[in-house]
Amino acid sequence: MSIHLKISHPDKKLPSLKTDRGRLTWFSTVDHKQIGIMYLWLALFFFIIGGLEAMVMRIQLTVPESSLVAPEVYNQIFTMHGTTMIFLALMPVLLGLGVYFIPLMIGANEMAFPRLNAFSFWITCLGGILLYVSFFTGGAPAAGWFSYAPLSENQYSLTQGVDYYVIGLILTGMGSLGTALNFAVTVLTMRVKQMKLNMLPLFVWMSFINAFLILGAFPLLNAGLVMLLIDRQLDALFFLPSSGGSAILWQHFFWSFGHPEVYILILPAFGIISEVIPVYARKPIFGYSFIAASTVVIALLSFGVWGHHMFAVGMSNTLNGFFSAASFLIAIPTGIKVVNWIGTLYKGSIRFTTSMLFALLFLLNFTIGGLSGVSFAIVPVDWQLTDTYYVVAHLHYVFLGGTAFAAFAGIYYWFPKITGKLLSEKLGKWHCWLFVTGFNMTFLLQHVLGMLGMPRRVYTYFDYPYWAILNAISTIGAVIMFIAIGIFLWNIYATLKKAPSSESNPWQAHTLEWATPSPPNLKNFDVLPPVHSRRPLWDLNNPSKKDKKLN
C-alpha cells in the first residue's frame, strides 16, 4: 500500500476558478503552483492594507501639529504598517515566488512536502487575520513593530493588541519555518539527477541559503515572543525591570532575530535580480561563484551583528566596537554582489522591459540603502541618528528600493509563466517611473529630515525649520506611489481578463521553468531538457554556443 497519490494524467491542467468545483479545490490544494499563487495574492492584499496605513501616516504628518489622527490611533497604525509589510507582504511575496518556482527551476514536479506547504500557507493566513482582528477587540498593537519591553507589557499596553501581535507572529513564523524546511529538503533531494548542487539557478540558491537563515532566526523570535506572552498572560516577570527582569533581554532576543530577518527579506530579492538581469542583458551572470559564496558569508555573518541595533542602549564601547567592526564586514559581500551584477550588464545587449527597469532601479536604490546602512555602523553617527527619520529612510530604501523593487521585477518577469498572459508594458512603465519618482521623493529627503533631528514614531511635530516642507514633499511622493500602485493593480486586473496568449519562453530565458507551457500543467514536467550547465535552455536553443559542461 502506498501513501502517495498518483496524478491521473500528465496533461491535466491546473484547476481554474471557471471549472466545476474549481474554487473549492483552491482551499484543499497541495499543488505548489496554486499555493504559490495564493501566497502572491495574500502578499498583494496585505501590501495594499499596509500601504493604506502608510497613507494615513503620511497625511497625518503633512503639516505640523496636525490633529487629524489621534496619537493612540497613530501608534497602532505605524505598528501595524511595519508588522504587516514585513511579515504579511514582503515575506509572503518572496516565499510565494519560491514556492512556485523552486520545484520548476530544479526540474521537480512537486515540493518535498506538499501538505506542509499548504499548512504553512494557511497558518500564515491565520496569523494575518488574527493580527488584524485586534483592531476590533479594543485596539491593535501600538508598541512598534519590534514591541520593546516594558512598553509592550501589561501596565503600559492596556489593550490586548500586543497579545494578538505575539500570537499572530508566532503563527506566521510557523508558516515561514514550514516553508523554509520545505525549501531546504526540496533543493537537497528533489533536483533532477543531472543538476548538481553547484549548478542551481541563483534564485534557488539564495532561497536555499535563506531557508537556513529562517530556521536559525525565527526560533529566537519565538523564544522572545513566548516570554512576552507569558509575561502578559501569566504575570511572569521576564522583561519587567521593576521586578528583576530585563527589558534589554527582549531587545537582544528581538534583534538577534531581527537582523537575520532583514537578510531573510533581501536574499531572495538578490536571487530574483540575479535571474532577471542575465536574461534581459542576454549574458550569463558575471561571477556566479562569487555571488553564491558571498551569500553563504552573509548568512553566516548575519547572526553576529545584531548589536548594531542597540548602540544607543548603553552597552560599553568595547562591545559596541566589535559589533561595529562586524557590521562593516558584512557590507562587503553585498558590495561584491552589486559589482557582479554591474559586470553582467557590461557589454550586454539590454532590453529595457519593465522588469529590467525595476532591476536596474533596484541596483541604484538598494545601494543607496546599503550605504546609509553602513553609515550607521559608525557608532557615534548611530548615536546621533538613531530613532530619527534617517533610519526610516534607510529601511525603506532597503525594503522598498530593495525587496519590493525586486519583487516587482520578479512579478513582471514571471507573470507570463504563471498566468500565460504578458502584463502590459505601457502600464508597467507608468507604474515603474511613477513609483520610483514617488519613492525617492518620499524617502530621499527623509535622510535630511533625520539629520535635522525629527524623531521616528511621533504622531505630529512642531514647526521647526524645514521640517514642514520636507514632510510635505514626502507626502506628495507617497501620493504618487499610491497612484503608481493603482496603475499596477489595474495592469494586473486588465491582463487577467485577457485570453491566455503567451508562449512558454517569451523572454528567451535560460532556466528550467521556461521549459513548461504557460501556465504549467498540474504535472510540471513530462519530459525534461538535458541539464549540463547552469543555463539548460540556453544550451538547448544555442547548441553551437553552449555553456561549459558542469556535470
Binding site: 556566479y288 553563504v296 558569508v297 553566516l300 553576529g304 568595547t318 562591545l319
Partner: protein
C-alpha cells in the same frame, strides 16, 4: 611603562621560542619542499605561534589580563591551525589519515567536533581558574583558592595541547583523503556549529562583565604596573568579544573559500590526486 615600551624591551621576547620555530620552519621548507604560497601560510603560522608563546604577551599574563589569555587561546586554537593546514602541501595532506578505515567517517567527524568544541570550553575554564587563583579575583564567577593544582599547569603546555586539538579539529575539513573529507556544505555546517558553541561562551563572558560585583570593588587591581591599563569590566568584555568575533570571522572566510572552490567545480583535482596515488602504488 607604556605598552609600546613594554613591547620594545628585548628581554620580554623569548629567544628560545624564536630558535625552535625557526628550526621547525626551515625543516618544513627543506623536508616538504612546498610552493611559495604554502610557505607564506606556514610562515604566518610560525609568526603567530611566536607572537602567542614567545612575545611579551606571555608576560602580560602576570598582570591577570583576561583578554590576553583569550587572545592567546583564540590564535592558537583557531588561527594557527588554519594557517598550518593551508601550508601543508597537497601530497602530504593525502598521507595524513590514510590508514583510517573509511566506515568510521561519521563517528570520527562527530568525535573530533566534540573534542574541538569541548576543548575550547575546558581550556577557558582552566585558564580562568588559574587566573583567578593567581590574581585572587573572581573571573567570570569562577573563584579558585591560590594553591590549587591548576596553577601548576604551565600555560605553554595548555596552549600546545590546544594547538594539537585545533589541528585535529580541522582534519575533516582540510584533508585530501576523499574518505574523510567533509563535503563542502557539510564542512560549512561543521565550522558554523563550532562557531555557535564558541560564540555562546564568548557572549557569556562578554555580557556577564557588567554584572560581576567584583568589578566595582576592585577596578584598579589589574592596572598596578600593568602597561595595558584596563578596568576589570573592559578587560572581561574584550576577552569575551575576542573569543568569538575574530575566530568566527576567520571560519566564515574559510567557509567562503570552501564554497568558492566548490562552486567553481574543483572536485576534479581531488579525484586526480587519489587516482594518481593509487597508480603509483
Amino acid at each position: 611603562m607604556s605598552l609600546k615600551d613594554y613591547f620594545l624591551i628585548s628581554e620580554n621576547w623569548s629567544l628560545a621560542w624564536a630558535i625552535v620555530l625557526i628550526i621547525l620552519f626551515v625543516g618544513y621548507v627543506i623536508g616538504l619542499r612546498p610552493g611559495f604560497k604554502k610557505q607564506l601560510f606556514m610562515l604566518g603560522a610560525c609568526t603567530l605561534t611566536y607572537l602567542t608563546l614567545g612575545s611579551p604577551l606571555q608576560g602580560l599574563l602576570n598582570f591577570g589580563l583576561h583578554s590576553v589569555v583569550m587572545l592567546q587561546q583564540v590564535v592558537i586554537l583557531m588561527v594557527v591551525p588554519l594557517f598550518i593546514w593551508a601550508g601543508i602541501p597537497s601530497k602530504n595532506c593525502l598521507k595524513i589519515g590514510r590508514k583510517l578505515p573509511p566506515q568510521y567517517k561519521n563517528a570520527l567527524v562527530i568525535t573530533i567536533w566534540f573534542i574541538g568544541t569541548l576543548s575550547m570550553w575546558i581550556a577557558h575554564f582552566m585558564s580562568a581558574a588559574s587566573l583567578s587563583a593567581r590574581s585572587g579575583l573572581a573571573i567570570c564567577g569562577i573563584v579558585m583558592a591560590p594553591n590549587t593544582w591548576l596553577t601548576k599547569i604551565p600555560n605553554t603546555l595548555l596552549l600546545l595541547v590546544l594547538l594539537g586539538i585545533g589541528i585535529l579539529f580541522l582534519f575533516p575539513v582540510f584533508t585530501k583523503n576523499i574518505n574523510f573529507k567533509l563535503k563542502p556544505l557539510n564542512a560549512v555546517i561543521y565550522l558554523f556549529t563550532a562557531c555557535v558553541s564558541c560564540s555562546l561562551l564568548g557572549l557569556w563572558v562578554a555580557f556577564s562583565a557588567a554584572s560581576t560585583v567584583v568589578t566595582e570593588v576592585a577596578p584598579l587591581l589589574t592596572t598596578l604596573r600593568n602597561p595595558l591599563p584596563l578596568s576589570l569590566k573592559t578587560d572581561q568584555e574584550l576577552a569575551g568579544m575576542i573569543m568569538w568575533v575574530p575566530g568566527c570571522v576567520l571560519y566564515v572566510a574559510t567557509s567562503a573559500h570552501i564554497a568558492l572552490k566548490w562552486l567553481e567545480g574543483e572536485k576534479q583535482t581531488d579525484l586526480n590526486i587519489i587516482t594518481h596515488q593509487k597508480e603509483s602504488h
